[in-house]
């Protein structure tokens, strides 16, 4: 465990990694993808499997409906010939998150990649936002990321290797009306990522954010024709 009681300014000269034969090959790696009940997380899990990784999948809330979706994504991973593990877990519960990561380690003896793709969209004028809604938005979008980073990070720090990708939103550093709670949470993911990136910089664990905009199939947006029409109007034109 890195215990940085003194600033790590003392020495440089950390050796560079060897040049990989196939830089995009993930064979032999074990990944945990959260938010895999939705199309975005499912697609990420599938892409990692295509690139060769074994994939553990989790949703966000651990509900039965969601677990059905997670299972179906896990089956697609299986159909690619990779090992898969569908986890039913409430990502806002630290004990459950710790147990889920432990399960992956028990099964496969390693955890190399973590992709946090869970997302709980919430948009409401701030004056009408209740404390419960605020707390739920922060817990699902920010605390869940912190918990998985901490649990998976412990495994990765022990191994001296890890790749963590947190999916945030452009709402995290742009002003978006009606998205105060959501934007604050996503902004928190950006700051959390930067802090961990520096804190773990010398341990072999990298932490990065991918910021996405609106995408198709997004819960509550892409599948609502009215929202979709409005958003399509204001987004920059797609390739013709």
């Amino acid at each position: 465990m890195s215990d940085q009681l003194s600033p790590p300014t003392a020495a440089g000269g950390v050796p560079a990694p060897p040049q990989p034969e196939r830089p995009f090959d993930l064979r032999g790696r074990v990944a945990l993808v959260t938010g895999a009940a939705r199309p975005l997380g499912g697609a990420i899990a599938l892409a990692l499997a295509e690139a060769g990784a074994d994939v553990a999948l989790a949703g966000l809330t651990g509900s039965a409906d969601e677990h059905f979706q997670v299972n179906s994504a896990a089956n697609q991973v299986w159909s690619l010939g990779r090992r898969n593990l569908a986890l039913q877990v409430d990502l806002t519960d630290p004990v459950a998150v710790e147990a889920a990561v432990q399960r992956v380690e028990d099964e496969w003896r390693r955890l190399d990649l973590l992709v946090n793709a869970q997302d709980l969209l919430f948009a409401m004028p701030f004056g009408e936002t209740s404390l419960e809604e605020w707390n739920a938005t922060l817990a699902a979008n920010l605390t869940s990321v912190a918990l998985t980073c901490q649990a998976a990070g412990r495994v990765m720090l022990r191994a001296g290797y890890g790749r963590i990708i947190n999916v945030a939103s452009v709402a995290g550093d742009r002003g978006v009306m009606n998205m105060a709670a959501y934007a604050a949470a996503k902004s928190g993911v950006l700051a959390l990522t930067r802090a961990l990136a520096t804190e773990w910089a010398r341990t072999g664990v990298t932490v990065n954010t991918v910021q996405v905009g609106w995408y198709e199939d997004q819960a509550g947006i892409g599948d609502d024709p009215e929202h979709r029409k409005t958003l399509t109007k204001i987004l920059p034109p797609a390739p013709s």
Partner: protein, 270 residues
């Protein structure tokens, strides 16, 4: 098609400026590994000839086209020669640029000529190269353009006035062009690079990597896979983005880098 196939550049022609050595050469070889044919361009013929040979040794077509990117007529000729030799341009990777005479000294001590030469080398050259390839990409109905910026385009550095201003210019130029040409299926992005020393002397002068969060410099080959990804179909949705590859330097926001001691909550045992 699997996810790894989307990272392939088979059949694509990439024009890479500043590719006679260093990072440009590394990207030329990475592109060849990914399946692209490569036009190598720089000022020194012998160097681009050698890199073109290395590309051919990987089984791809290559051309070595000498050009001075600070001269827009030379850039126009470079594009014509590239098309004459390899028939199309799918990717422009503008890597030429760098520190020039006078930069690193207080502003009031440098001449206007030094300033303009630096801006020409880094910013105006980017404009010239992109302007020259856009008509071809519009005709082909697709294109990828990758410009080279720096972490120093996102923060200041004492006395590096030209370089920080020019690289900030490259970043915002890239964003604006991404909006202009995005609808024509041309994606334009930039890489903000940290420190990739090319000599031992540079590595020593830059503190041996100890101010970089990961504790080391960038290694030349590491730029290759990132550039390949950004110019591949896998990145078709990435447009106007600044991709930072700096070992975590900008995550701290300042150099040396962000660090805080342990400060427990009041009443908690340390």
């Amino acid at each position: 098609m699997t996810v790894l196939d989307r990272l392939r550049l088979d059949g694509r022609v990439a024009l890479i400026t500043g590719s006679g050595r260093g990072l440009g050469r590394a990207m030329a070889l990475a592109f060849a590994d990914a399946g692209a044919d490569v036009v190598c361009s720089a000022r020194t013929q012998a160097e681009i000839d050698a890199v073109a040979d290395e590309v051919r040794a990987r089984g791809r077509r290559a051309a070595a086209v000498r050009a001075d990117v600070t001269d827009s007529a030379s850039v126009e000729r470079m594009v014509e020669r590239s098309l004459a030799e390899l028939g199309r341009i799918d990717i422009l990777l503008h890597n030429a640029g760098g520190r020039t005479a006078g930069d690193g000294r207080p502003l009031h001590t440098i001449s206007e000529a030094d300033w303009l030469a630096g801006i020409d080398t880094n910013l105006t050259s980017t404009v010239s190269c992109i302007r020259a390839v856009i008509p071809q990409m519009l005709e082909q109905g697709r294109g990828k353009i990758l410009t080279t910026a720096s972490g120093l385009g996102l923060r200041g550095n004492r006395d590096l006035n030209m370089y920080t201003a020019a690289k900030a210019g490259v970043i915002n130029l890239t964003r604006s062009l991404a909006l202009s040409y995005g609808r024509h299926n041309i994606q334009i992005n930039t890489m903000a690079l940290g420190l990739f020393p090319q000599t031992e002397a540079q590595a020593t002068r830059w503190g041996g990597g100890r101010y970089i969060p990961v504790g080391r410099f960038g290694t030349t080959w590491e730029i290759g896979p990132v550039a390949v990804f950004l110019c591949s179909p896998a990145a078709d949705g990435i447009n106007g983005a600044v991709i930072v590859q700096d070992g975590g330097g900008l995550a701290g926001g300042v150099t040396p880098f962000g660090w805080a001691p342990r400060i427990p909550l009041p009443g908690a045992s340390a």
